[in-house]
Amino acid sequence: MGKERRLIGAIGLILLFLCLLPLMASDYHVSVFLDLMMWIALTESWIILSGYTGYISLGHSAFFGLGAYLMAITWTHIPYGLGVILAGLLSTAFAFAIGFPFLRVRGPYFVILTLGLTEFTKFLFINLEIKLGGTVGRILMMTPGLHTLYYSILVVTAIATITAYFVKNSRFGTGLFSIKEDEDAANAMGINTSLYKWLAFGISASFPGMVGAILALRRSYIDPYTVFSPIVSFQVIVMAFVGGLEDVEGAVVGAVILTLISEALWARYPYTYMIILGIVMIFIVKFMPLGLVFPIKRRILMRRKGKDR
C-alpha cells in the first residue's frame, strides 16, 4: 500500500513540475521538454502493440503523418482541440481498418510490411496532394503558441503513459503478453488473439496521430517526406529497446536517456552525436540485452524475495 502511495506521489510531483515548467523556464527549455514528451508519448503507445505482443511495427510514422495531415487540412476551419482529437480518431480508424489482414502476418514479415505501409502512405499523400493542390507541402499560418502546444502534448503523453500502464496490468495486457510468449498456445487456450492484436493496434495508433497533429502546428510546414519519414519509427524503437520493451517506466527512461545524449551532443558535435549514439546502442545490446530497466527491476525483485524469507 505504501508503495502505491509513493508511486502516485512521485508521479504527481513530476506532473506538477511539468505543469509549472512553462511559468518558470525559458522557451528553449519548454521546447526541450515538449520534444521529450513527444517521444515518451510515441514510445509508450508503441509498446502497447509492439512491446507487449512482440509484433514490431515500423508503422508508427504512418499514423504520425496521418495526424499531421489531418491537422494541416482542417486547420483554421475547426478548433484546435477538435483537430487533435480527430487526428487520433482518424489514425485509430485507419489502424482498425487495416488491422485484421495486417496482423495475420507474423515476425519479420510484419516488420517489413509496416515499413511498406509507411512508404505507401507517403507516396499516396504525395499523389493526392498533387491532384488536389498542385504542389506538395502545406503551410500552417498563425499556429498556437508554444505553451498551448506544450500543454497539449503533456495531456497526450499523460494519457499515453496511463493507457500503457493500465493495459499492461489488465487481463487484456496479460492476453497480449501471452501472444508474445507463444501465439498458437494462446489461441489454443481460447484467447481471441486476433481481436487482442487488433485492439492493441488501434489503441496504439491513436497517439502518434495526435502527436503528429500537434507537431504539424509546431513546424508550421509539413510535406509527406518529413512527416512520413521512417526515422520517427526507428527512433521510437531505439528508445523502447533501451528502456526495455515491456516497461512503462522503461519507455520514459529510454526517451529521457536518448534525449539527454541528444541534447548534450548535437549542439556541439552533430556528426559525433550520431556516431556515439550508434556505439551506445551496440553496447546496450552487448551488455544489457534486456534493456536498462528490466535487469534493475529483476535485481530488486530478487532482493525482496530474499527479504521475505
Partner: protein, 294 residues
C-alpha cells in the same frame, strides 16, 4: 509498341534488377542463416560507392579494379562486424525474438555510425563522376557501356552465388543451415564459420553494388536507406531465406519498375509498387516463392 521499345524496357529493367538482386541476395543470406535483419545494408552500398569514387578521383584507379578492392574491403568489414559483434550476440541471446530485436538495434547503431562517419570524413556534398560513357547499340537499343558492365557483373555474381550454393559443399552447408539450424549443427556443420562467410559475402555484394551504382548515379552519405528498403521488399517478396527467390525477385522488381514507368504514369510507380507489395504479403505472407530453399 515496337520491338526496340520492348527490348529497351527489358534491358533497362534487367540492369536495375541486377543491382537489386545483388543487394537482396546478400541481405537474404544474412537473414537466412542468422535470422538477422540488416537495416544497415544500404550503408555498405554507400561505402562501396565512396571508395570507388575516391580511388577514381584521387588516384585514377579504374572502377573495374576498384570492384575487386571494394569487395575485399567490404568483406573484411563484414568479417569484423560479424566476429566482434554478432557472434557474441547470437551466443548470448535467449530466444529468437530476443535475437531479432537486439540485432535490429545493433544494425541501427551501425547504420548511424556509417552514415555519420561518412559525413564527417567526406562532407555531405553530392558527388559523382563519369566512367565508360560511350554508347553502344544492341538490337537497336542504345546502352551506355557502364550500365552494360553493371548488368554483366551483377548477373555474373548472382549466377556464381547460385552455383556456389547448389554445387559446392560450402553451399550445401549454407542451405542446410538456413533450413534447420539445430539439425545442421548435429551433422557437424560449423555454424559460426557459415555466419562469417554469410556476412562477408553479403557485405561484399553490397559494396560491389555500390561500386557499380557510383558510375552512373549520385553519391551522398545518405544514399543507402532507399536501397535498404528496396532490398527488404525484394527478400520478403521472394521469401525470407530463399536465396534464389531474392535473386529472381530482384530482377523481377527491376522489370516491374521499368514496365510500370513506361506503361502507366511514372508518377504512380511507387504507389503501385507498394500496393502490389502489401497485397502480396497479405495474400501470401511467406512471399511469392515461399520459405523453400533452393
Amino acid at each position: 509498341m515496337d520491338l526496340t521499345r520492348v527490348l529497351q524496357i527489358i534491358f533497362t529493367g534487367l540492369i536495375i534488377g541486377g543491382i537489386y538482386a545483388l543487394i537482396a541476395v546478400g541481405l537474404n543470406l544474412i537473414y537466412g542463416t542468422m535470422r538477422l535483419l540488416n537495416i544497415a545494408h544500404g550503408e555498405l552500398i554507400m561505402v562501396g560507392a565512396y571508395v570507388t569514387y575516391w580511388l577514381y578521383m584521387l588516384y585514377g584507379v579504374s572502377p573495374l579494379l576498384s570492384m575487386v578492392l571494394v569487395v575485399g574491403l567490404s568483406a573484411i568489414i563484414g568479417l569484423l562486424v560479424c566476429f566482434f559483434i554478432f557472434l557474441p550476440i547470437i551466443r548470448s541471446s535467449k530466444s529468437i525474438t530476443v535475437l531479432e530485436s537486439n540485432s535490429l538495434l545493433v544494425f541501427f547503431g551501425l547504420s548511424f555510425i556509417f552514415t555519420n562517419v561518412a559525413s564527417l570524413l567526406w562532407t555531405a556534398d553530392i558527388r559523382g563522376y563519369s566512367y565508360m560513357t560511350r554508347v553502344i547499340h544492341i538490337a537497336g537499343v542504345p546502352l551506355m557501356y557502364n550500365r552494360l558492365l553493371a548488368l554483366g557483373v551483377a548477373l555474373f555474381v548472382c549466377l556464381a552465388c547460385y552455383f556456389l550454393l547448389q554445387k559446392t559443399m560450402l553451399g550445401k552447408a549454407i542451405r542446410a543451415l538456413i533450413q534447420d539450424r539445430e539439425a545442421s549443427q548435429l551433422v557437424g556443420i560449423n555454424a559460426n564459420f557459415i555466419y562469417l562467410i554469410s556476412f562477408c559475402a553479403a557485405f561484399g555484394m553490397a559494396g560491389l553494388a555500390g561500386c557499380l551504382l557510383s558510375m552512373f548515379y549520385e553519391i551522398t552519405p545518405f544514399m543507402g536507406l532507399p536501397y535498404t528498403i528496396i532490398a527488404f521488399i525484394v527478400i520478403v517478396l521472394g521469401g525470407l531465406g530463399n536465396i534464389l527467390g531474392s535473386l529472381l525477385g530482384g530482377f523481377l522488381l527491376g522489370l516491374l519498375e521499368t514496365i510500370g514507368v513506361s506503361v502507366t504514369s511514372p508518377g504512380l510507380r511507387p504507389i503501385l509498387s507498394y500496393s502490389v507489395f502489401i497485397l502480396i504479403i497479405l495474400i501470401r505472407p511467406k512471399g511469392i516463392f515461399g520459405r523453400g530453399v533452393y
